[in-house]
Subunit: 99 residues, 4 copies
């Protein structure tokens, strides 16, 4: 299993806010029952790399439906194969170290 | 105010885990009472851009104290000046839209 | 058409260098005759988003063949649909503006 | 010495192009005689980490002079301390391996 963080940024919209675009993404993930964490800087999703990149394609397409002509998407994948990790595991592990 | 997401990755450590390095960073932020959010993919910090980049320098240096010879650091800054935003605001705003 | 920049970083290799891993990627791209630009920080490839993400999967898998257990991959996609753009176009356009 | 790749993206400009913003950055770097490489996805600069982050602050500020209210900046730093590396070294090293 791997983690993907994705941030989909529409360019040239005429306004600084991107909340509607983020809401599109989160609505889709909820609808599809895909486990995810929304942060102040992006969305983190857990899954197999192939699934995650297929999902990245879907999320990257979304702003183009809203009259946007350019989208810049940043994706980070952290893929560890020596042990199973799940969302929140790292946060718990670090908290334990610092107790 | 701006947000910075930072991810500091030590290379060539001989083991896939990076928990000790993340714990160094979080211990420092707690000690300095710097508001932050640890996620599965990085650490998000709120502040003025100049302060955030000065902090990035400090966090980027940390792995070198642990016998590491190469560090790759990714920093994203989201700097909005038309209104004040704080950590968790975006998450709340999206949740309200989706209710 | 879109651009993808990709950087595939193996963790825990025991040595700071990653040249062999970068060479694997470039050898593959040459072999497949996929147009690309190697930079000091990653590899830039031009194509349709779906193809680019399928390629990202292949490139991300490569270090796992070399006894690596964790790979962190960063992908940026710049996808502009109001006009056709190709590798080097932006660089030329900026040079012209600055003449 | 380290490398920094920086990409400064203005949001809400009303148009998909960002060439004027990139030209501002390159004009500044030329004027200051700071060695750099412009790529299709960002600008790569060589220097000490402290200098690079100070420069990142200056480049990140630039779009705000052009009536922009939100800027998203991505910075990657690759800092290797076991040997001296310069711009283009990695590209040459990979080319040699693939000969």
């Amino acid at each position: 299993m791997a983690f993907m963080e994705i941030s989909v940024v529409p360019l040239g919209t005429g306004q600084p806010g991107v909340g509607d675009f983020v809401a599109d993404i989160i609505a889709y993930l909820r609808d599809q029952q895909i486990p995810h964490t929304l942060t102040d800087m992006g969305t983190i999703i857990e899954g197999e790399v192939e699934e995650l990149l297929a999902l990245a394609k879907i999320l990257h397409e979304m702003p183009f439906r809203r009259q946007v002509w350019r989208v810049v998407t940043h994706i980070s994948i952290d893929d560890r194969r020596d042990k199973k990790v799940h969302l929140q595991d790292k946060i718990r592990a670090v908290s334990q170290r610092l107790r």
